[in-house]
């Protein structure tokens, strides 16, 4: 079992429990606590390592480019959904927003995958994570309603920028940065060494929830299942190329590809439910949680890693 990480095993166990209709369930409160922990841990880690960077200002440009290019995913996904898939405008826009945004847990599994293989990556990728979360949400609403057509932009901006994922990531990044590795060293045991343990519990819960979302897949249909595999791979190719162009390490490019390929299932669904009320959440959740999340865990991350290795070897 050298190909996969044990955290994937816990996801599979949760899936199995769900499919067997076991009474195993992680309470909503536990899942909330675990996701709080994961967000803080990721933010802190990014911040602490940012504190070691000599010139943080030099990161602005690569971050800006990576964020800008990430708009490619929803702008590619929307016409595909609308014209190939024949989906209604609100549904296409909402799904495009989910795929344009990112999944924190897929990122966490990606870092676990890399560190299990002793592969390093640029620390500022956790910073990037923060900035990749929200632009797609705004693009999604624009796609659904056009500009100025009665959207409550103030409410939307509030929803997006004060959503708990953003607040926790930005805040703990700032704490990690301000106090640096020394000041916050008493926290590395809790937020660093225990990270993988807490992640296993979260993945177990995600497995149970994903199994419950499989019913949604039926309403999603064959097109969305294909979409949930093809679009991430295409986005990942974009991530690989941009990572290479920005001069990222192999690990960094793999993580950037993973981020591009991942679809949000925390920030996006909550924001879209309010901003595009007439989109059917079963479609977006069925695709992002039922197809793309397990695909990325099981096949995607190793595939993106292989793509990066191939490109970097080919390009010398």
């Amino acid at each position: 079992m050298t190909g996969l990480d044990p955290v994937v095993g816990f996801f599979a166990l949760g899936l199995a429990a769900g499919f067997l209709r076991s009474d195993l369930k992680l309470s909503g409160g536990l899942m909330d606590t675990l996701s709080l922990y994961l967000l803080v841990a990721i933010g802190l880690k990014g911040g602490m390592e940012l504190a070691l960077v000599a010139e943080p200002g030099a990161l602005l440009l690569p971050i800006a480019i990576a964020v800008l290019m990430s708009a490619g995913t929803p702008l590619l996904a929307y016409p595909a959904l609308r014209f190939l898939g024949g989906l209604r405008r609100p549904d296409a826009a909402s799904i495009a927003a989910h795929y344009g945004s990112v999944s924190v847990v897929t990122f966490a599994v990606g870092t676990t995958y890399l560190s299990g293989r002793g592969i390093g990556y640029e620390n500022y990728l956790s910073v990037l994570l923060v900035f990749l979360e929200f632009p797609a949400l705004i693009i999604g609403v624009l796609l659904a309603k056009g500009i100025g057509q009665g959207t409550d932009w103030r409410r939307l901006a509030h929803e997006v920028f004060t959503g708990k994922a953003i607040v926790l990531l930005v805040g703990s990044l700032a704490i990690g940065w301000l106090w640096g590795k020394d000041g916050a060293s008493a926290l590395t045991l809790f937020y660093g060494d225990l990270f993988k343990g807490f992640l296993t519990l979260f993945m177990l819960g995600m497995g149970v929830i994903t199994a419950a979302r499989f019913a949604d897949l039926r309403s999603a249909g064959a097109f969305l299942i294909g979409f949930g595999i093809v679009v991430p791979v295409i986005s990942a190719v974009g991530g690989v190329l941009i990572g290479w162009w920005l001069g990222l390490s192999i690990g960094g490019a793999t993580l950037l590809a993973t981020l591009y390929a991942s679809a949000s299932y925390i920030a996006a669904p909550a924001a879209m439910r309010i901003a595009i009320p007439d989109a059917n959440p079963a479609l977006s959740m069925g695709a992002s949680l039922g197809v793309t999340f397990p695909f990325n865990l099981l096949l995607g991350i190793p595939l993106y890693h292989a793509m990066v290795e191939y490109l970097y070897r080919a390009a010398g």
Binding site: K25, L26, S27, G28, M31, D32, G205, V208, I209, A212, A215, P269, A270, R273, I274, P277, D278, P281, A282, M285
Partner: protein, 98 residues
């Protein structure tokens, strides 16, 4: 004891921040919220996950406000959200405060 109305709204948890201002705007002076799970036309909502959780809101109010709440909530949200609303006659002391 005087007769007033109790209006109960069961809806998706995601609607919580949207529906509460709506209730106050319709004239409610207060409300009580419980977490819930459930099943309806849109399938099971098992509350294992914030997006599949429901809330159950109760509002004590006079008949006029009750009518307005049922109307607004119904018109604004029932097309796009899982939602159930009902009203009951109840007896309270000092009905004036509601």
């Amino acid at each position: 004891m005087e007769r007033i109305k109790l209006v109960v709204v069961v809806c998706e948890d995601a609607l919580e921040p949207v529906i509460q201002p709506e209730l106050l705007a319709a004239g409610a002076r207060g409300y009580t919220v419980c977490q819930a799970s459930g099943r309806g036309n849109r399938g099971e909502r098992d509350a294992r996950w914030s997006l599949s959780a429901n809330i159950r809101i109760e509002v004590l109010c006079n008949a006029e406000v009750a009518g307005r709440i049922v109307g607004t909530v119904y018109d604004k949200f029932s097309a796009n959200y899982g939602l159930v609303v009902y009203a009951v006659d109840v007896e309270v002391m000092r009905a004036g405060r509601f």
